[in-house]
């Protein structure tokens, strides 16, 4: 993973000092809330229902064990002992005091963690595939490019006051685990016919009030032109994005209103006018960043160690292994997903104790590295297969071995009305009830891969539009109601889900989901036809009938 140097550390320390000064001026009244709000947002500080919420950046979802320990420390010292991992690979603390934030940031800065631009109308965390660098079949590690983009976008003087927020995602695999098609800029790393490394660039994807799948603006931008091309896009957006209406201010609206061809031309013209750009990356610069990424010294290991053979007799271990353990590009190693979706628990949360325990396990079994996925689970990316049984035991003791990864109870949910001041309805209790309904692992296995996404309002932080089953909280006459969509997907075949019918009340959501699942089990062509494929084949009608027959 990327190692901070003196320059990186200096920058985040300077940022901490600046924020300390801003908080001081706010608390003394020298800054009004109107003047301060955007400044605190630029440091990831929201005001929520009960308290401030603090969103800390985990660049491209990679953490060292020391960093995870420091997050645990922040949870304990400044919060209520837990944190929430988000759909953008960040972590959120829900009870932080503004007056203590500069100290929390200083503590984080010591281990190279910051909260710059995790909110505000600027460029946010550049997310990636949580298996970057270890997934088989990857072209190259996309995190090198994520880091180049992270540095380029951090405290960019021209683009810190955009019309609205701006999100990037990068993938380097055929199977897109980073949801690039629903980002403002999505980047697909690949090689052209000449074998050169570059990017397919997509723009204007996004969810929220007006969801759009991103469109390809340029099929191949050479790696060396990535930053200059991105600058051209941002400059066009900064100048022409709408500023009169916050619901029409994202780049997706500009792309939609101009049309992709006209938009592409504006960008191309700007890019050509830039000429020989100081942003053109040469091999030396790329190599400089690449050299700061340290990779483990993998051993030469057997692909079927004895420990694994022996443990195969334990059906509980086997169930977990088959569910949560994924193929690594290096023989004898594995990628292990740690489910943060225990039955009855709030999805994506971890206690400070759990974080410390995972940090220790990472030191023992994963070369000190942890990953955060946008599905709100953690991963240990470099586990030797021979260590799987002992790791499983340890994870099970701390409640992080629920064998439900990618299954119906592996729910992605926003914090919802329990925490968030934008919400219309609660999402966490819905998720909790669903995990209880589908607590039986045999049933969940039988159902197969099924992504449920829950958002408490139209801002769609739970990514409900692209859930296989999407649940959106709305308000009707002071009561919580939920719209249900099916057939969405976030991967390389990204699609928006389709509404199945009128919204249903809070108490019926779990029943409706059970009805949908029952309909799927009855109608699927084969046991291995996935839910989302069955919906594609059959359309929404059979599911709608089943759900609304008695409602």
């Amino acid at each position: 993973m990327y190692a901070y140097d003196e320059l990186d550390r200096t920058l985040i320390n300077e940022r901490v000092e600046e924020f300390r000064d801003q908080v001081k001026r706010r608390l003394s009244g020298e800054l009004t809330e109107d003047e301060f709000k955007m400044l605190r947002l630029q440091n990831g500080v929201y005001l929520q229902l009960h308290a401030y919420m603090f969103r800390v950046a985990i660049p491209y979802g990679t953490l060292s064990s020391n960093q995870l320990r420091r997050l645990a420390h922040v949870a304990r010292r400044y919060d209520r002992g837990y944190g929430h991992f988000t759909t953008r690979q960040n972590i959120q603390f829900n009870w932080i005091k503004l007056a203590e934030l500069p100290d929390a940031l200083a503590d984080l800065a010591e281990v190279g963690i910051h909260a710059m631009q995790t909110s505000g109308n600027n460029t946010r965390n550049v997310t990636s595939d949580q298996w970057a660098g270890v997934a088989p079949g990857e072209i190259e590690d996309p995190r090198i490019w994520s880091e180049l983009l992270r540095q380029y976008t951090t405290l960019h003087p021209e683009f810190s006051f955009l019309p609205r927020k701006f999100k990037f995602a990068i993938t380097a695999s055929a199977h897109d685990r980073a949801a690039i098609k629903v980002h403002d800029i999505g980047l697909r790393l690949h090689r052209n016919a000449q074998g050169e490394t570059g990017f397919e660039v997509l723009v204007g994807g996004g969810l929220g009030r007006t969801p759009f799948i991103g469109k390809t603006i340029k099929p191949f931008v050479h790696g060396r032109d990535l930053l200059s091309y991105v600058e051209a896009i941002l400059r066009v957006y900064n100048q022409y994005g709408r500023r009169d209406n916050i619901y029409k201010a994202r780049i997706k609206i500009l792309v939609h209103e101009l049309g992709i061809d006209k938009f592409a031309k504006e960008v191309e013209d700007e890019w050509l006018a830039m000429g020989d750009s100081a942003l053109t990356l040469d091999d030396a610069v790329i190599e400089e960043i690449r050299s700061r990424f340290a990779y483990p010294a993998y051993e030469k290991l057997s692909h079927m160690p004895d420990e694994l053979k022996q443990a195969a007799h334990d059906p509980l271990f086997e169930r977990w292994r088959k569910n949560s353990v994924f193929t690594h590009k290096v023989q004898g190693y594995a990628i292990v997903t740690l489910s943060l979706k225990p039955v009855g628990g709030p999805p994506g949360d971890a206690t400070a104790d759990q974080m410390d325990a995972v940090a220790d396990l990472a030191d023992k079994y994963s070369f000190g590295e942890i990953r955060v996925g946008h599905e709100q689970n953690l991963a240990l990316p470099h586990v030797a297969k021979r260590d799987l049984p002992v790791l499983w035991n340890a994870l099970d003791k701390i409640g992080l071995a629920t064998p439900n990864v990618n299954l119906v109870s592996d729910i992605i949910a926003c914090p919802g009305l329990d925490y968030c001041s934008l919400a219309n309805a609660r999402s966490i209790p819905i998720a909790q009830e669903l995990t209880r309904r589908f607590a039986n692992h045999d049933t969940a296995d039988l159902i197969g891969r099924l992504h449920i996404n829950i958002s408490g309002c139209i801002n769609a932080c739970g990514h409900h539009h692209v859930g296989h089953i999407g649940i959106l909280g709305v308000e009707k006459n002071g009561e919580e109601f939920y719209q249900i969509t099916i057939g969405g997907r976030a991967d390389e075949n990204a699609e928006l889900g389709v509404l199945i019918g009128p919204a249903v009340p809070y108490g019926e959501v779990a029943d409706v989901v059970e009805d949908i699942v029952e309909a799927y089990l009855a109608l699927r062509a084969r046991p291995d036809e996935l839910f989302v494929d069955a919906v594609k084949r059959l359309g929404v009608e059979p599911f709608r009938e089943r759900v609304y027959a008695t409602r």
Partner: protein
């Protein structure tokens, strides 16, 4: 529970002004004494749109004390006790409706 950030001032019953305390984000209520209290029973009650507007305006001015004030409905019981008037305010007064995560034994 539509976010009050999008509300027009429309009073349908007794209402209060609520916000979050600036230094720590705690839920607070505007009092008749032009202060902020964490106790709902200290809240100033308004009953007309004009009263609400006035209370909100002077609350907004006091942004050293609290942030993001808005008007929220309350219910007044026969005993005189003030209770939150919708689910959102109930959650703000009582806390989250879920159990906070605890480490398994």
């Amino acid at each position: 529970m539509t976010s009050p950030l999008q509300q027009k001032i429309k009073i349908t019953g007794p209402s209060i002004v609520t916000a979050n305390r600036t230094f720590d984000g705690a839920v607070v209520y505007r009092t008749a004494a032009k202060g902020w209290s964490t106790d709902l029973s200290d809240a100033a009650i308004v009953r007309t749109a004009d009263e609400a507007r006035a209370l909100l305006a002077e609350s907004i001015d006091d942004d050293i004390g609290a942030v993001g004030p808005y008007i929220a409905p309350v219910e007044i019981k026969a005993s005189g006790k003030i209770k939150p008037g919708n689910l959102r305010e109930h959650i703000r007064a009582q806390g989250v409706t879920i159990d906070l995560l605890s480490v398994p034994a």
